[in-house]
Amino acid sequence: MTTVQAAALGGGEVIEADNGKFRVVVITERCKECGICISVCPTKVLVKGPRANSRGYRYPIPERIDKCIGCRMCEWSCPDFAIYVERVGDR
């Protein structure tokens, strides 16, 4: 699990993790803790994290990144543009 600054987004933490094939990135400041991404992930990669963003919402963390198959259901089901998936080696 790596944590990097999202400089392009005016501050706020970006959480990311990859399993060598796929990387899941969470833009924490945009999350509203709706829980949809966690529920739609077919391999249960995501869990609700312990920390909250500046609005008080607890964003998900890709704790079981090893299980990620890169299906993107989290990215497509997130209403807030707060999570996305990319192939490792894309950036």
Partner: protein, 276 residues
């Protein structure tokens, strides 16, 4: 070294206006993402040019989408996005004009304009996000609210049947009529991608979840619960018949699919503004 992370759609959004005002778990954000993915594909393949795309919204939660997209966009008045879009398209026929609105805006107060635009087969893509309630103003009855449900203006239960907008628009002769749902984002993307390539009037109804208002009214305020409840009621069909398009919440189904896909001459073709 700091790595910059950008959401794949940030280039098409006004990221300084995010997070958007939609409630946690609101289906509108899911739909907007799918719409923008389709638009992005059309731009990347060279079919559409970025500066030739416009988003027009009326008033309501859904229409706020026009505030978040980094294109020529308009936040017009309640129910009147379609005429605005028609006027724009008539003088700028090379633009791709996309109307995004809610069910109340497009089919309620804007119903007359929707009907005539479809009949006219004017070259527009109209996307109606249907969360079956007037959400922005706190949960009043919408023409799309299923029978029997509580709303703040039908506290004893809705005595009306919901309007079948898919059937209405199909009857008026639109070139493309489809229904999608926020439970199936890739379907939204596929239909929007296709509709962007159609001439004439293209209409997509996206059944959406409003946990904060609609969900709360039926005792399902949790976003995941409401999404799952909708998922149970949704059926995807390849070429559904128009007679299957009516829906109810209790005991009914939302049949998703492409109901109409044809290529009748469009309004602008007929008046000679664009070539057939």
């Amino acid at each position: 070294m700091k790595r910059i992370r950008k959401h794949p759609l940030d280039g098409l959004l006004r990221p300084e206006r995010l997070p958007h005002l939609w409630c946690p778990g609101c289906g509108l954000g899911i739909a907007l993402g799918a719409i923008l993915r389709a638009v992005k594909k059309r731009i990347e393949e060279g079919y559409l040019r970025r500066e030739k795309i416009a988003f027009i919204g009326g008033i309501g939660c859904s229409a706020r989408a026009s505030l978040y997209v980094d294109f020529d966009s308009a936040h017009t008045v309640h129910g009147r996005a379609i005429p605005f879009a028609t006027g724009l398209k008539a003088v700028k026929p090379d633009m791709k004009v996309i109307v995004i609105g809610g069910d109340g805006d497009i089919a309620g107060i804007g119903g007359n304009h929707l009907m005539h635009a479809a009949r006219r087969n004017i070259d527009l893509l109209v996307i109606m996000m249907n969360n079956m309630v007037y959400a922005m103003t706190g949960g009043q009855l919408a023409p799309t609210t299923p029978t029997g449900l509580y709303t703040t203006t039908t506290p004893y239960g809705n005595p009306e049947r919901p309007i079948n907008v898919v059937k209405l628009v199909a009857t008026m002769g639109a070139n493309y009529v489809a229904r999608a749902s926020v439970t199936h984002p890739p379907l939204i993307e596929r239909y929007v991608y296709k509709a962007l390539g159609k001439k004439g009037f293209a209409f997509i109804e996206i059944i959406s979840t409003c946990p904060e208002v609609f969900g709360r009214h039926i005792g399902m305020r949790d976003a995941v619960d409401l999404l799952n409840a909708l998922r149970e009621r949704v059926v995807v069909k390849q070429r559904p018949h128009i007679d299957e398009s009516y829906y109810e919440w209790e005991g009914g189904k939302f049949v998703l699919g492409e109901y109409v896909d044809k290529d009748d001459p469009s309004y602008l073709e007929r008046i000679g503004v664009i070539k057939g």
